[in-house]
């Protein structure tokens, strides 16, 4: 089987993969990074969003071989090494941005990609950006609120739910 090499969360990672091995399978099964979730496996739900070379992608809809030589960031690489959460993670905790937590890794990775592009998004821009991330607890209000808070904006105007 062919070898694939990439950098995952700042560390070199390599392994043998089949052509059909998805990036999410490589992350979860070869590297044991199970924070990235597989929800729908049809590229609709966004639970598997990771960053590849700084761009948010659905890791269930990309082959591991396509990430050869890339820099991959997963939810495990977001907090500081001592476990201190980053601003988006902390805001999700502060604003109850998760219920069952299944969609959360993808939500956090998408939110970070949004804030990298647009540091102070409006509520409408956040909702638009999260089009490809589904929360089946329907906890969207607090997710949106958390992302606004993470961007340093006043969240008192967001409808309380």
């Amino acid at each position: 089987m062919p070898q694939v090499k990439m950098t995952v969360n700042g560390k070199p990672a390599s392994g043998e993969v089949e052509g059909r091995t998805l990036l999410v399978e490589f992350l979860r099964e070869n590297l044991g990074l199970t924070g990235t979730h597989v929800g729908c496996d049809t590229s609709q739900c966004g639970a598997c969003v990771v960053h590849v070379d700084g761009k948010a992608v659905k890791s269930c809809t990309m082959f591991a071989a396509e990430a050869e030589g890339s820099e991959v960031l997963t939810i495990e690489g977001v907090a500081a090494p001592d476990g201190t959460m980053d601003a988006v993670q902390q805001a999700f905790q502060d604003h109850h941005g998760l219920q069952c937590g299944f969609c959360t890794p993808g939500m956090v990775m998408s939110a970070r990609a949004l804030l990298a592009d647009n540091p102070t998004p409006s509520e409408a821009e956040i909702r638009d950006y999260l089009e490809g991330n589904i929360c089946r607890c329907t906890g969207y209000h607090n997710i949106v609120k958390a992302i606004m808070a993470a961007s340093g904006q006043d969240v008192s105007t967001i409808a309380a739910q």
Binding site: P2, T61, M62, A65, E66
Partner: protein, 263 residues
């Protein structure tokens, strides 16, 4: 998925060689349609030839004729950021799928697949674009041959798409709310020598030009010029999301909205 190998060539010449090696080999763009198709075992290639590592078919520029030329392996997100010279095209690209899909999906992949509800076929046909392959140039009018069917030969690879920039243009998509594909999408573009109206999502024959609307708009580029026109629902897609008659009606509505938006 059935098992297959993946090749990641870095030059077009290598990719062409891989494609010629076997009829069972399949080109892979961003994979946002092909990977779900493989998961459903609707395709079983021997080898996938990934085109996204080929720098020479990626990127956006303008040619001497003022056309916006987009490399086939350019992602939708890169078109949003880089096709400022053709704002209606950049806006269309920015409303395909979702942000993560736009970071992977490519214009060449979309046009090679020719999904009857995809957005890019409407832009290419509505702009009278030229589809460049490793072998030849194909006018958009000769390229689209029905649902998922194109003029591409076995193993032929799209390398670039050249869009003449119109005086005015807009794309209006009525989204199927679950998939966000176009239930009906209409691309209207006004050029010095005429108006083009391309419709996606509606017809059983895939993307098509609405020639009656083009003639009416050439005489009077206003939504009101379309008041007397209607399309038959007979050859329109009819499914649980909408009947053929409903789609035919939507074509008229979305064309008017596109004309208004184009200004």
């Amino acid at each position: 998925m059935y098992a297959f190998d993946i090749e990641r060539p870095t030059t077009l010449a290598e990719a062409v060689k891989h494609m010629a090696a076997s009829e069972e080999n399949q080109a892979l763009g961003g994979g946002q349609t092909l990977i779900p198709t493989l998961k459903q075992r609707l395709a079983s290639p021997e080898k996938l030839i990934s085109l996204t590592g080929i720098d020479e078919i990626r990127g956006i520029c303008e040619d001497d004729a003022g056309r916006v030329c987009i490399g086939a392996a350019t992602t939708h997100a890169e078109v949003v950021a880089g096709a400022g010279a053709y704002p209606a095209l950049a806006a269309l690209a920015g409303n395909i799928g979702d942000p993560a899909v736009r970071n992977r999906g490519t214009i060449g992949g979309s046009l090679a697949n020719n999904d009857p509800s995809a957005c890019y076929p409407a832009a290419a046909l509505g702009s009278g674009a030229t589809i460049v392959t490793d072998k030849r140039e194909i006018a958009a009018d000769d390229y689209f041959e029905g649902m998922f069917a194109t003029a591409l030969d076995e193993g032929e690879i799209i390398t670039e798409v050249k869009f003449p920039v119109p005086q005015k243009a807009a794309y209006m998509k009525f989204e199927q709310p679950a998939s966000r594909f176009a239930l009906v999408g209409v691309f209207v573009a006004k050029y010095a020598d005429g108006v083009r109206v391309a419709v996606t999502g509606a017809s059983e024959e895939g993307v098509f030009r609405w020639s009656e609307a083009e003639a009416a708009l050439a005489a009077d580029f206003s939504a009101g010029a379309l008041d007397e026109l209607s399309l038959s629902g007979d050859n329109m897609i009819s499914d649980l999301h909408g009947s053929g008659d409903y789609r035919a009606h939507l074509v008229g509505v979305m064309t008017k909205r596109a004309v208004t938006a184009a200004g």
